[in-house]
Symmetry: C2
Subunit: 129 residues, 2 copies
């Protein structure tokens, strides 16, 4: 086991031990936000190895569900995410990364800064940064 | 089907049709941020019904994986989340809600404003708002 488990709700919610709760597929959701602006850039997934590498190297690593493989963000795009802070939520099943984006400053493969470039308006998607 | 499916990558990524991709359990990740401060408040899950209700009522609804049930945020706590904006990401498998929190302004059942009240520092969790 790369990470321990919490034994009680108190340990999980108020404890000092990082005890992430990976799902049945061994994954945990990770939100990346721009450390400067606070903008939400993307949501991706981590397995235990990706979280360990993120903490140890100071650069965001994720697990691709479609490719079923670990990946370092920015390895091909140059959009490396330098870690400023890592947070975990109350029940330790979601991670929040505050990052400084390298390269062109973007996070989305479509070309937008954030992956959340579309707003739902009257049931229709409208692109807006 | 409550929502349609996208047929091509172009439709999925640049189309105007809301075609959320729910996972094998019928769920999609939803991030709630404070519309005023931009602070990430929580990450939760939605099934199609929860997303539909969120869009139609203007108040955040989620699906509890532990209770296996739909819930309206704030129904018991008063921490209702009024929707200011709903966004979806490039591959339509994550939702971003900008919300105005009613009640005491918090989102976390532990008592903090945000669920992400712990920072990982040297491998140890430290509470910090």
């Amino acid at each position: 086991m790369i990470f321990p488990s919490a034994n009680t709700a108190a340990e999980l919610e108020r404890g000092a031990v990082l005890a992430p709760r990976f799902d049945a597929n061994g994954l945990i959701a990770a939100i990346a936000v721009d450390a400067h602006s606070g903008e939400v850039l993307m949501l991706a997934w981590m397995n235990a190895e990706a979280l360990r590498l993120t903490l140890d190297t100071g650069e965001a690593h994720y697990f691709s569900r479609s490719r079923n493989a670990l990946w370092k963000k920015g390895e091909t795009s140059g959009q490396v995410q330098k870690i400023v802070e890592v947070r975990i939520d109350c029940d330790q099943d979601a991670v929040l990364l505050k990052v400084q984006v390298q390269g062109d400053g973007g996070a989305c493969h479509v070309g937008f800064r954030s992956c959340f470039y579309r707003v739902v308006e009257d049931g229709v998607l409208v692109e807006r940064q």
